[in-house]
């Protein structure tokens, strides 16, 4: 059982949770889109700008060196957080989408040719579909889609059959943003590696909710965003095995990513800087470091426990409502619930819940092919974080009953 005192302590770290929306206390159930920021993260960013700010790398003055140290310390922190083997394997990006675009481009140029295949699943977010479609168009490779069951689970048998000699890359999400399905990525990575296929994992929905260990998973690449890890927007992480990062070309050119530049020929910087062109989001990286400290302090095991209790409680309560249909009933699920209210448009439901101070997401959740699979235009999605409470779920359920009576 969740100790309510612990939840209150956690809630106190998040100033936005005291906000009122339309005169009602905010209930924030849109954590899969982005979660809120604790004071510790806000303070780290403010302090950095107020006291330590300047541009980093190559500066001889004190502030530049201080900033460089802070920035590079976060790289070590990320390395430990996901248990990567080397700091050179941690590349800072703008976010998950940026990381996936980098990989589609740089892996595509190196490994894809006409007739090759890239495998993704029906569950993917548009950001793990469109970059691959774009590079397939350029290279003449084709995108193949791993089917899922009605419950929203990847069909692993079908996946095994799809792993033929033409497949060069498999790119799947760790956790589905729309349904919450936790995919069996460790098994899928192992199966791909048996055939020497490169594996890319979109970890956007995973990092704030469960422990992620690169040595255990053995993914070749793993990408995520800071803003879904209680950190700031506009910064993310790309983990890649060193031997692959060495082999693939840079994605963007500019300052910081070079060794020597002449008009005839430019040589590139060492890892990880080869992939970090231009002045990076320094304050964002500092914020990410504070977010990782924060998550470590609470402990991902505790977070997982709180969230799984919230998920179980909300699922039971929603299942008891005769006018609600749930989508995504995988055995392994993160704290994300997609549903529809019978005979009501998700937009109406979402708008009226907002009137009660309850923030949920409605629509296709950037997974239109998944909506096509279920033959629905969209769902209402409630997604939880460790600062949410059982009382909030009760108010949400009461809100839904009221909404149903209005429509």
């Amino acid at each position: 059982m969740i100790e309510s005192e612990n939840i209150i302590d956690i809630r106190n770290d998040f100033p936005i949770l005291n906000r009122k929306i339309h005169g009602k206390p905010l209930i924030y159930f849109d954590n899969a889109a982005s979660n809120q920021k604790p004071m510790q993260v806000l303070d780290a960013i403010t302090n950095y700008y107020a006291n330590d700010y300047s541009n980093i790398h190559r500066g001889v003055h004190t502030l530049s060196q201080l900033g460089t140290t802070k920035y590079e310390e976060v790289r070590d922190k990320v390395k430990d957080f996901i248990n990567a083997s080397k700091r050179e394997e941690i590349v800072f990006t703008k976010g998950t989408t940026d990381g996936l675009n980098l990989l589609a481009n740089s892996l595509g140029k190196t490994f894809l040719k006409k007739g090759d295949q890239v495998l993704i699943s029906t569950l993917e977010h548009h950001s793990n579909i469109v970059p691959w479609q774009m590079i397939c168009e350029v290279t003449g490779a084709s995108l193949q889609i791993i089917p899922i069951s009605r419950a929203g689970e990847i069909n692993v048998d079908a996946y095994i059959e799809m792993l033929n000699d033409k497949v060069k890359i498999v790119s799947i999400n760790h956790i589905s943003n729309t349904l919450g399905t936790i995919n069996p990525i460790k098994k899928m990575i192992k199966l791909a590696h048996k055939k020497n296929i490169i594996t890319v994992i979109d970890g956007a929905q995973a990092v704030a909710h469960k422990e992620v260990n690169m040595q255990d998973l053995d993914a070749d690449f793993y990408v995520f965003s800071a803003h879904k890890l209680f950190g700031p927007t506009g910064v993310g992480v790309l983990y890649g095995k060193e031997r692959y990062l060495e082999k693939i070309p840079p994605y963007q050119g500019g300052g910081d990513m070079i060794n020597q530049v002449s008009f005839e020929k430019t040589s590139y910087n060492d890892l990880p800087y080869k992939f970090e062109a231009g002045t990076p989001n320094i304050a964002g990286v500092v914020g990410l470091g504070a977010a990782i400290d924060y998550v470590n302090e609470i402990g991902l095991k505790n977070i997982e426990e709180i969230e799984s209790e919230l998920l179980q409680y909300a699922t039971e309560k929603l299942n008891a409502l005769p006018f609600v249909n749930l989508f995504g009933t995988a055995k392994q699920k993160a704290a994300v619930i997609s549903f529809i209210v019978k005979d009501a448009h998700p937009y109406d439901v979402g708008t009226l819940l907002d009137g009660m101070g309850i923030a949920v997401r409605t629509g296709h959740h950037c997974t239109q092919p998944l909506m096509d699979f279920y033959k629905i235009p969209g769902t209402i999605r409630a997604s939880f974080a460790m600062y949410n409470s059982i009382e909030e779920i009760d108010r949400f359920i009461a809100g839904l009953i009221k909404v149903k009576s209005m429509l």
Partner: protein, 138 residues
């Protein structure tokens, strides 16, 4: 223009009855439910309004010099909003429609409550109605 203003005034007065956010939306839902049914044949791709989270259809026809609008949506709140636009603009000449400032939208406190998504939808609806008027004017 005077006639237009009186319709706008009416709408504004209707909304002044409500203090509570929820009441306003209940009223919009009722308006949506009351909107006359749109002929299914008119729900074509040509009549669809882009930029809304819900689907919205708008159709226009010309009767003498007056432009008549019919509309529908698969979401009730959206239907209520489009019904207000139909009420304000239907039965006017093309020129009247083109010059209509539609100031009531802001006055009834809807704009501030609509998400950017939704606000874009509203803007798209108005744009579509004015585009129809332009066709009828020429």
């Amino acid at each position: 223009m005077a006639k237009m203003d009186s319709i706008e005034k009416e709408i504004i007065e209707d909304f002044e009855l409500f203090d509570e956010w929820m009441e306003k939306y209940e009223y919009l839902i009722d308006l949506g439910k009351d909107l006359p049914k749109m002929d299914e044949d008119l729900k074509t791709d040509r009549n669809i309004v882009k930029g809304c989270q819900s689907r919205v259809w708008l159709h226009s026809s010309l009767e003498k010099d007056k432009v008549l609008f019919t509309a529908d949506s698969d979401a009730l709140i959206t239907k209520g909003i489009v019904s207000l636009l139909v009420r304000a603009l239907s039965g006017r000449t093309a020129n009247e429609i083109l010059n209509h400032p539609l100031g009531f939208i802001e006055k009834i406190g809807l704009k501030e409550h609509l998400s950017p998504n939704r606000a874009n939808g509203l803007v798209s609806m108005v744009k579509k109605m004015k585009a129809y008027a332009l066709i009828h004017a020429s």
